[in-house]
């Protein structure tokens, strides 16, 4: 028994040593806990978190360094991670009231976090700490839910058709006609098929169906987010008849073929088996880089392209509601979106900047592919209409439902008419939870 006590004691000792060991490591973070500070010159520590890849980590750290040099009283602690890991971290942090001061926020999680009081209302900082005079009103409004501003747009993306002009010629089409329509698209698809090519790699159901609905004056979600934004299932049937028809005609690859691909590197456009890809403007540069040849951007098919297109907030900068240094956090957000030197490091990686001044300053520094993106977004600014606002709570579930239903249609397992009914019934039961 005595021996046992000795051992128990040594276990406790080892354990407490281990604890000491790690606590000495964590003191730095304990010190850095945001404290209640008001005056401008007193030391402030801000936590900022973002997701992304290596280049983004590198340049954001440089921006932070630049800011800290200009504001010696501010210390910024960076917490960055890969996309999947980022969201795994953020949810428990929110549940435990431990969110960072500055949060890079994605549109798909935006409503969830802001409507549950996790994000601070930034309206009182807009126009003061955060300079908004060079940014179009509808770009700023993208971060609004109701009359509260929960995030500042870091830049915008616009959806379009990214294609290889050489492959288009190979299919016997000289160029995408100006103001092209869905009929033109179907015609090109047929020609591509005849030339042994795929026209594209399918359309992400929620994004492009929503675009289609917008051209018809409707939207995927109703304004209050409690139901679907279209009443007539014929719209659903028309759109998905077209997409699943193209799969059936072998102009667009089947989902099981697409599922076998490993990544961008062996995608059809890169390996010259498909003419184009439907995606957001921020994905163009990476695609061009991997394909390593001249690619072009075409707008969405019409009619009523202008009604359908909109400037989508690429991501937001939000402030955690538990932050004790909201004004300081807002100042740093201002630096990231308005400072020319900071944006020269960033070069539109977080979306084409909303500020016209920044945009003009960056133009001479851009690569040819980046210029294409900037030009396309600039064109879209004049040829688009207002953004419907962030997706409602539950949208993630609706999108997953839509992906699964459109997958089943593409496999030919589900008739489009039945799918329309099934989607409406299940989506509305998800959205109905938003009714107060």
């Amino acid at each position: 028994m005595k021996k046992f006590l000795v051992l128990l004691f040594s276990v406790v000792l080892v354990f407490s040593l281990a604890a000491c060991n790690s606590s000495s490591k964590s003191t730095s973070s304990d010190e850095s806990k945001p404290k209640e500070e008001k005056k401008g010159d007193e030391p402030v520590t801000l936590r900022i978190s973002w997701w992304g890849s290596q280049p983004r980590h590198d340049y954001t750290l440089k921006i932070i360094e630049m800011y800290e040099k200009q504001h010696p009283n501010v210390k910024i602690e960076a917490e960055y991670a890969a996309w999947d890991d980022y969201w795994k971290k953020l949810a428990p942090q929110a549940a435990a009231n431990e969110l960072p001061d500055i949060i890079q926020m994605d549109l798909s999680y935006f409503s969830q976090y802001s409507q549950n009081g996790q994000l601070a209302d930034l309206s009182k900082f807009a126009g003061k700490e955060i300079n908004t005079k060079d940014i179009a009103k509808n770009v700023i409004d993208g971060g609004k839910i109701g009359d509260k501003l929960y995030g500042i747009n870091s830049g915008v993306n616009v959806v379009g058709f990214h294609y290889d002009p050489a492959l288009l010629k190979k299919a016997g089409v000289d160029s995408i006609p100006e103001d092209w329509t869905w009929d033109d698209y179907k015609e090109i698809a047929a020609k591509a098929k005849a030339a042994g090519l795929f026209v594209d790699s399918g359309m992400k159901a929620d994004v492009f169906f929503n675009y289609y609905l917008r051209t018809q004056g409707k939207s995927l979600y109703s304004k209050d987010g409690t139901t679907l934004g279209y009443k007539d299932d014929k719209l659903f049937v028309d759109f998905f008849k077209m997409t699943s028809g193209l799969v059936k005609d072998k102009a667009v690859p089947t989902p099981d073929y697409l599922a076998q691909l490993k990544g961008l590197e062996d995608s059809d456009l890169v390996t010259s088996k498909g003419i184009g890809v439907w995606q957001w403007s921020n994905q163009f540069v990476g695609l061009q880089q991997v394909a390593n040849r001249q690619l072009e951007i075409a707008p969405m098919p019409g009619p009523d392209t202008k009604k359908g297109l909109y400037l989508k907030p690429a991501m937001f900068w939000s402030v955690g509601n538990n932050s004790k240094n909201k004004a300081e956090a807002a100042k740093f957000i201002d630096f990231m979106i308005n400072d020319i030197e900071a944006n020269k490091l960033n070069l539109g990686d977080r979306g084409v900047p909303g500020s016209s001044v920044v945009k003009d300053a960056l133009k001479p520094l851009l690569s040819p592919a980046q210029v294409q993106v900037f030009d396309y977004v600039e064109w879209a600014e004049k040829n688009s209409s207002a953004f419907d606002g962030p997706d409602p709570v539950g949208a993630g579930e609706v999108i997953e439902l839509m992906d699964s239903i459109s997958e089943q249609m593409a496999y030919g397992n589900l008739k489009v008419e039945d799918a329309a009914k099934q989607f409406r019934q299940q989506a509305e039961s998800i959205l109905a939870q938003n009714k107060k």
């Binding site: 028994m1 046992f4 128990l8 276990v11 999947d84 969201w87 795994k88 949810a91 428990p92 929110a94 549940a95 969830q112 976090y113 549950n116 009081g117 996790q118 089947t254 989902p255 099981d256 073929y257 697409l258 599922a259 076998q260 490993k262 709570v393 539950g394 993630g396 579930e397 997953e400 992906d403 699964s404 997958e407 089943q408 496999y411 397992n413």
Partner: protein, 319 residues
Amino acid sequence: MSTRVVKENVEANITIRPVSKRSRAIKENLTGYAFISPFVIGFLAFTLIPIVMSLYLSFTNYNLFAAPKWIGLDNYVKMFTADPRYWQSLKVTIIYVFAGVPFRLIVALLIAILLNTASKAVGLYRTLFYLPSLIGGSVAVAIMWRNVFGDQGIVNIVLDMLGIPVVRWFGNPTAALWMLIFLAAWQFGSSMLIFLAGLKGIPKSYYEAASVDGANGLQQFFKITLPMLSPVILFNTVMQTISAFMTFVPAFIISKGTGGPLDGTLLYSLYLYLQGFEFFNMGYASAMAWIMLIIVGILTLIIFATSKFWVHYESEGGR
């Protein structure tokens, strides 16, 4: 046998001692609790509160951020009556468990027996066979698997040579589930290692005696190896069943977090994760977890109950 004689002696010995039964019982209790005290303390400090909270949350509508709202049995009712994806995930998981666990255990046991000799070369083999398990659940696995089962991957090349049409492993729901099962079987290293440790514990003299009696290899396997290994087999069966029910990482990385194609790899834990952290229905996810606990618990109880008939504990007089 001599065991019994020794045992009786000891019992006789103990009863003779002039210690009252009660104080001996108290002492035994104290010693027992002293040994398991780390677990008891750790359980009370770190585990009990979260478990009770998750049970409470299963009766609420909780989105992680706002205060939970009590809704009684609604989550459970929805699960069983109004959620087809729940049933799909249950079905997929049951196939995964009942095909995957025996598959993995049999491979692991056979390899362990082949590698149960002490030589340098065999040590290297053991390490090589363990290597796939060491890679664990990293993203690299997903990429390797996409390569092996891709359109031009080695599996399809072999199938093609055999004249079998190419299978779209990532695009066909049934094939994708089997791919997950193969992946589980491929990473049999942990079970193999536990079997090896168990085989080490079987005294060589048993086999020598059996050889003298003229038992052949197969007879020795069934008469000595299997019974002597049975506690370890029980352990592996229980633990592999539990962990198979909880499998999350392979399904997540192979299906890129969706459980597709067509929910073919939507394992229970993956669906639970999606509900909790993608759809922010943590109350529902907690209810799913408690149903899982009941299912796995019943299964474990069944395995333990049958163990009376096939598990042989040397310490309990060979029962």
